[in-house]
Each structure stands twice: as structure tokens, then as C-alpha cells.
């Protein structure tokens, strides 16, 4: 029943309840009937125009999650006809409350294509959309769901986190989420959702991407309710049957929260501190003293073939220089060291699921088997650094204004240096590579260090870098096991890297000298004043 019709029917019933004479009541009722029917037929649901305009492109007009954009997406847009929702405050298998639905619309689903709508639609519009979504599944005609009593988080601390780590092991969360929580568990490559689409185990080191929120309470709620439609189960039965205690589950939540830094602040300039020696490899403990800069990456959707479902959504960059050489250490979560045969099934599924061309149809039968390429990372600078205030085209440069690239690949493990004139137009430099690298893959994370002389041996082949300038820098990454390659992967815009200028000695000396001079002058002035006073006072002073 539409909302408008419901109002009409309600009014009719209200009037009926107050009628005192039977005949007018029946007449009134009969009069109300056709108007109810008419209303049901002619007045669309108030949420429909909003849904059709803003939601149907992904979720489809009938709510089946099959909008025009859907074939490009992974995870796929929610299929509302199933009545199955991930983010709830209700038991596994139960419907979400209206507030649960509103929350997802308000806040979006981080890490997916679902944006927040709080700033785009009015409160009334969002309420109408919630009511309209519920018309897509007959399950919402049943009784309202019961909200779980989730309680409040106990106080945390190191002890709590240690207990949480223990419980994380006991509950075998690592089977999917991995030992370090990066979504690289042994079961991760085989995971599918209810619709048989491949689905990632959450990377627990990126709490800012947690669907449903990143607080300890939100994590605990996901453990209790499960994420319906995904492989993530509910632990409520485990608590109720005494297999684990409620407190242990809170500890797991606290531990999981501790795996992430605070949501990173994105800064435009990466600072390369000056140091006295460059670490030899990315595992060197020196790197952990160096400030890390988070650079978000997004799918390459600027030119065809586009890629809407990138595996790498951000990298951490640390940089150092010693006046002669400079080094950049880049690390990022990647559940597979590509090519990795255990991820072949995942790759096949992605290839069969995600459309790469501009059509809106599901992808044609992929070439079997799909190419299982290496993991890649590209660090990009302008080809001519100092002359260019305005950097070249960010997406791999152009023939007219090329870029200078370091192109690393995991298999073979090597870095190529050269000139880029577009994503797939690259000419490796002739002669010896001037950049060296060391790559390490550990527990679902790549760590790659590049090192180069500030002034290269061959300045014709590579630009020189000088401290004291903001040098444009951009990044691209690709996960071979996700079907990504030189064109389809993740990209960043231009950022800048600033190599610290050595602090001149005078910076330390000048303030001291200035302070001493000031103090000396002060003493002198006071001394003179006192002398003058004494002289002026003369013989009287001794009398008094």
C-alpha cells in the first residue's frame, strides 16, 4: 500500500469510527473506496521519484541491484528484492530497522561505490527512500525486527588488546582476515557473497573503510549481527552457548580497532627528512621513525578500459634523503603476491563478473584463463622538474609533456626507469638504471623501497632533484590477482615531495647571539642609569 493511499484509507477509517448513522457511514465508506483505488493507481510512492533519479542507476528500477552501472562494480549494488542487508542492529537473518537503512543511506558504505547522501538529500527525502526500499521485498510486510541489546564497550587498554588478540586467534578470524588482518587469510581467495560474486575479507588495518562504522561499538555490533549476504557470520550464538564470553567478543573488537591508525589525514606534500644514512631495505627499523604520509588511490576510470573495482585504495609513503641520495618507501595492503595460483579462482571470478568496457552489459565470456599478471607500482615525476611549475598530465603524462617513471613489478621483481607518455606508452631509459629498489611482501603487505642519487649520473635520461623544492609526484598501483594491469588499476592525482634543506648552523647561533646582545645592552643601560642617579644624588645620599 502506498503511503498516500494509506493516509487516505486511514482518514476514511477515522471518519467511519465517528459516524453515528449507519447509512451515511456506508455511503462514506463506498465513496472512500474508489478514491483509495484511484490513489493507489495514480499516486506513485513519494520515494519513487527520488529513488529513480538517484539510486536506480546502480540499484536498478526494480531494486534488483542491476542498474546500468552495476556490471562495473564489485561489490555489486545491493539487491533490495532479497531483503538481505549487511549493516543492522538485529540478529543474523533478521530484517534491518528503518534506522539501520537510514544510517547506510546517510553515511554510505566506505570502500564501495555507495556514497553518503546526508549532504545530498533532505531528511524527508531520505526517509521516503527508506520507505520505498522496503516495498521491494515482501519480507518487510512481516513484523518489525527486534533490535539486539548490544551494551556498551568495557574500558580498553593494552591488556584488553592482548586478550583480544588471543580471542582473535581462538575464533580463527585469521582464516579470512589474515594473521595481520589485511584480508589475506587462506579462505580469502574463495569468498563469495549470496549472489555468488567474489567478495573481499575486510582489511582490518583500514578501519576508515569499515562498513557500519569504525568504533569499537560498531565493530562489536558487526560481530554480533554478522554481515548478512556476506561470508561474515554472527557470533551471537557462540556467546549464548558459552563458547566465548561477551567480554571476549568486546576484546576482539578492541583488538581489531587497534590494528588501524586513526583515519589518515591526506596532505599535499610528502616531507623527505634529511638524515645521515639511507636504509638498505624497506624492513629497516629506521623507516619506522620516519613520518608516513597516506595517499588515497582510486580506480582508473578516466580512459578505457576503465577499472571501477581497484584492489589498492591507498598507499603509505615515507621518504628520506642524505644530501646525496634519496629514498622512498611505499607500503600498501595487497592480499596476494601476484601471480599466486591460490588466487587464480578469485581472478577468474573477477574476470567473469566485472565489465571493463563502456557497455552496460555483463562481460562476455573471458579469455580462459585470464592473464594473471604481476603486482605493479609506478612512481611518477615530471620529466623536467625545475622548469615546470605546472606538471604534465597526471595520468601517465602525454607525448608533448612526458613524465619520468619508476615502474616496479613483482614478477619479475624489477624496476624500470624511463619516460612515460601515457598509461601504456613507456620507453625504458637506455643504459644503466639509476634507481635501485628492494621489495618485500609480508603478511598481506607490499613494502617497496626506491633509492636514487639526487643528481643522476646521466642527467639527460633522468631529472635531478634538489632539496628545498616541492617536486610533483604521483602514484599508480595494480594487483595482478585482481585482473589489474598497466591501464586498469588504481591511480593518484599529483602530490608533491619536499626534500628538507639542511638546517644552517646560523639558525642555532643567531638567537643566542641576539639574546646575549639584548641582555648586554640591558645591563649597560641599567648600569648607566644607576651611575647617573648616584652622581646626581651626590653628597645628599650619604646623609640620608
Amino acid at each position: 500500500m502506498t503511503r498516500a493511499a494509506g493516509r487516505q484509507g486511514g482518514r476514511a477509517a477515522h471518519q467511519l469510527a465517528h459516524c453515528t448513522h449507519p447509512l451515511p457511514a456506508i455511503v462514506l465508506f463506498l465513496a472512500a473506496l474508489p478514491s483509495y483505488r484511484l490513489a493507489a493507481q495514480q499516486q506513485p510512492h513519494p520515494g519513487k521519484p527520488i529513488y529513480d533519479r538517484w539510486c536506480a542507476g546502480c540499484h536498478g528500477e526494480t531494486g534488483a541491484g542491476d542498474g546500468e552501472a552495476a556490471p562495473h562494480m564489485l561489490p555489486r549494488p545491493r539487491d533490495f528484492t532479497k531483503g538481505v542487508y549487511q549493516i543492522r542492529t538485529t540478529a543474523s537473518g533478521a530484517l534491518p530497522t528503518d534506522a539501520d537503512l537510514r544510517r547506510v543511506i546517510d553515511e554510505g558504505m566506505p570502500g564501495t561505490a555507495m556514497p553518503e547522501w546526508r549532504t545530498r538529500l533532505t531528511q524527508g527525502e531520505r526517509d521516503d527512500v527508506v520507505a520505498y526500499l522496503k516495498t521491494f521485498s515482501r519480507f518487510f510486510q512481516g513484523p518489525a525486527p527486534e533490535v539486539l541489546n548490544l551494551g556498551r564497550a568495557p574500558s580498553g587498554g593494552e591488556e584488553a588488546i592482548a586478550q583480544g588478540r588471543e580471542a582473535f586467534q581462538k575464533l580463527e578470524c585469521f582464516k579470512c582476515h589474515g594473521e595481520a588482518g589485511r584480508g589475506d587469510g587462506t579462505s580469502a581467495p574463495t569468498l563469495t557473497d549470496d549472489l555468488d560474486f567474489p567478495i573481499r575479507a575486510a582489511d582490518l588495518t583500514e578501519s576508515w573503510n569499515f562498513n557500519g562504522g569504525s568504533t569499537v561499538e560498531a565493530i562489536y555490533a558487526r560481530l554480533r549481527t554478522g554481515l548478512d549476504g556476506t561470508p561474515m557470520p554472527s557470533f551471537s550464538d557462540a556467546v549464548e552457548s558459552g563458547v566465548i564470553t561477551d567480554e571476549q567478543l568486546w576484546r576482539v573488537s578492541q583488538y581489531v580497532r587497534s590494528l588501524s591508525e586513526e583515519p589518515p589525514r591526506v596532505r599535499e606534500v610528502i616531507r623527505a627528512a634529511r638524515t645521515t644514512g639511507i636504509p638498505a631495505d624497506p624492513a629497516d627499523s629506521v623507516w619506522f621513525q620516519v613520518e608516513a604520509f597516506y595517499i588515497p588511490l582510486v580506480g582508473q576510470i578516466v580512459r578505457a578500459p576503465r577499472w571501477f573495482t581497484p584492489s589498492v585504495d591507498g598507499i603509505w609513503v615515507r621518504a628520506l634523503h642524505d644530501g646525496q641520495r634519496f629514498a622512498i618507501r611505499i607500503s600498501w595492503s595487497d592480499p596476494s603476491r601476484s601471480p599466486d595460483s591460490t588466487w587464480q579462482e578469485w581472478l577468474n571470478r573477477v574476470a567473469a563478473t566485472v565489465a571493463r568496457d563502456d557497455t552496460t552489459a555483463a562481460p562476455p565470456a573471458p579469455p580462459a584463463p585470464p592473464v594473471h599478471g604481476p603486482d605493479r607500482l609506478v612512481v611518477q615525476f615530471p620529466r623536467q622538474v625545475e622548469e615546470d611549475l605546472d606538471p604534465p598530465y597526471f595520468l601517465g603524462g602525454s607525448p608533448r609533456r612526458p613524465v619520468y617513471d619508476w615502474r616496479w613489478s613483482s614478477n619479475p621483481d624489477r624496476v624500470e626507469e624511463g619516460t612515460g607518455m601515457g598509461l601504456d606508452r613507456f620507453a625504458a631509459s637506455a643504459g644503466a638504471t639509476q634507481v635501485t629498489h628492494a621489495a618485500r611482501f609480508a603478511r598481506g603487505e607490499w613494502q617497496v623501497q626506491f633509492t636514487r642519487a639526487l643528481v643522476p649520473a646521466d642527467t639527460a635520461a633522468a631529472p635531478a632533484f634538489a632539496p628545498g623544492y616541492a617536486i610533483p609526484i604521483a602514484f599508480r598501483a595494480a594487483d595482478g590477482s585482481n585482473g589489474e594491469d598497466a591501464v586498469g588499476g588504481s591511480i593518484s592525482a599529483w602530490y608533491a615531495i619536499y626534500l628538507d634543506v639542511p638546517t644552517p648552523g646560523r639558525v642555532y647561533v643567531q638567537p643566542v647571539v641576539a639574546a646575549m646582545l639584548t641582555a648586554g645592552l640591558g645591563f649597560f643601560v641599567v648600569f648607566r642609569a644607576q651611575r647617573r642617579e648616584q652622581r646626581a644624588a651626590g653628597p645628599y645620599s650619604e646623609e640620608s
Binding site: A13, I26, P233
Partner: protein, 255 residues
């Protein structure tokens, strides 16, 4: 008179609401599951066999190296029993009386639960049936984490974590559905199916393809046989009072 008017009005309002036809879907099934007279039983039976014609496909082997505790429960390399064929007979086929019982006949859910065990990182049984509302007891006999996820379409699903050996959980389904898939996402090879039906007249073919459905009243029934990879077959079977009827189903790789 006022009271009569109120009753008439209420009746009309109800009729008007019901006439909207918006409850289609679950409505009929709910009627079948609730209320009504207890359905008839008898001493007739349908027994038979499920044949498999042609060459049986090889079942995929399972790599259990990541779960030594499960692997050691298997004396030989475990395989995923998608198609169980012995001497041309097909096991794990769900056979049930689809129609032919008196309209509106209802059968109470058995008080004993149906049990599904997770043992050696395999479901046991792989295929089973329950009456609507009957308890399903889910056991974990493995010292490893299993999640058991039901992915129904007519019923509400669930996804439960069973992280320790010996844990049991009980669930039930309220709406008939043939079949409800069950799966473990930690072990992608683990699949099971439960047939949720309105009457107790169902069976699952044994390893030798045989099955027997007992306790039937006399009548003519549509009997359906379901297999996880090869779909369904139906047959019409007439059962006399207290008589034993037989039926054969035949599946093949091309059907």
C-alpha cells in the same frame, strides 16, 4: 444496530485491504503451513531407486592441507561428493511428495530435530529434509572454525559462527522451500541442502540409489526428485490403501 454497523464496516475494510493483492508471495504458503485439519496418514509407501545413466563425472578432490585436523579424519584423499554414483545408482537425491495430499492438510513438525554435522570439514548429511517448523540442530564435530550460512529465497537466512568443537546451534525454517542451500565460507567446498516441505513424506536416496517414503494414505501423488547439479524429475504415483508402490527416477549427465 451500531454494533452491527461496526462489524459490517470492519468486514468491508478488511475485504478492501485484502483485495489489494499486495500480499501475494508468502500468503498461500502461510495458509498451507498454519491452521487447517491435521493431514491424513496411512500405511502405504512409495519406494524405488534413482538411476544414473551414462558416465558419472569425476568428483573434484579437496585440498584440505590448510586444515590438518580435518584432513586426518579422512583415510584417503577427500573428494567433494557432488555426484554419488554406485553401480549406476545415484545417491543424495531428495525425493518428496510435491502434491496430491488433500488441500489444506497440515502435518505437525516432528519434535525430534533434524541433525546436520560438520565433521572432517564435510557436511553430514549433505542432503536432508525437514517439515516446516522442525528444528535443525547444527553441530560442529571439528576442532576448527566453521560458519554455516543458509541462503534461502522464500525463508530468512542465517550465518552463524561455530568456532569450537562440540558447539550446537538450532534453527528452523517457516516457509516451504526446496531446497535451502547451506554453505561454509571458511571451507569453500562445504555445501549442503535442506528441503523444507509441508509434510513428512520425503526421503533421500541412499548411496545405492534406494529410497522409501512410508506412512502414506491412499492417493495419487506427484513425486519430485531433486539433485544438486542435475535439477528435478517428477513422476505420478498411485498408492493403494496400505500398498507399496514403486517408482524409478533416472538422471544423466546430459539431463
Amino acid at each position: 444496530m451500531k454494533r452491527l454497523t461496526a462489524i459490517v464496516c470492519c468486514g468491508l475494510v478488511l475485504a478492501a485491504c485484502g483485495g489489494g493483492g499486495e500480499r501475494a508471495g508468502g500468503g498461500e504458503e502461510e495458509a498451507a503451513a498454519g491452521g487447517g485439519a491435521a493431514g491424513p496418514t496411512g500405511s502405504g509407501s512409495i519406494s524405488g531407486a534413482v538411476r544414473f545413466t551414462g558416465t558419472a563425472p569425476a568428483n573434484p578432490t579437496i585440498d584440505m592441507s590448510e586444515e590438518p585436523a580435518c584432513r586426518e579424519k579422512h583415510s584417503s584423499a577427500p573428494v567433494n561428493p557432488k555426484v554419488v554414483v554406485n553401480n549406476g545408482m545415484l545417491g543424495n537425491v531428495f525425493v518428496y511428495v510435491k502434491s496430491g495430499l488433500p488441500a489444506g492438510a497440515t502435518y505437525p513438525a516432528p519434535t525430534t530435530p533434524a541433525v546436520i554435522d560438520q565433521n572432517g570439514c564435510m557436511y553430514d548429511p549433505r542432503v536432508f529434509g525437514v517439515v516446516v517448523g522442525q528444528s535443525i540442530e547444527i553441530r560442529n564435530s571439528d576442532p576448527v572454525l566453521h560458519n554455516i550460512k543458509a541462503v534461502p529465497s522464500a525463508n530468512r537466512g542465517f550465518n552463524i559462527s561455530q568456532p569450537t568443537q562440540g558447539m550446537t546451534t538450532t534453527r528452523r525454517f517457516d516457509t516451504p522451500e526446496v531446497m535451502v542451500p547451506l554453505e561454509c565460507n571458511v571451507h569453500g567446498w562445504m555445501n549442503a541442502w535442506v528441503g523444507v516441505v509441508t509434510n513428512p513424506f520425503f526421503a533421500v536416496s541412499a548411496q545405492d540409489g534406494s529410497f522409501t517414503i512410508g506412512g502414506l494414505p491412499a492417493g495419487t501423488y506427484e513425486v519430485e526428485a531433486w539433485h544438486e547439479t542435475m535439477g528435478t524429475k517428477t513422476a505420478t504415483v498411485t498408492v493403494g490403501e496400505g500398498a507399496a508402490a514403486t517408482v524409478e527416477f533416472s538422471f544423466g549427465p546430459t539431463t
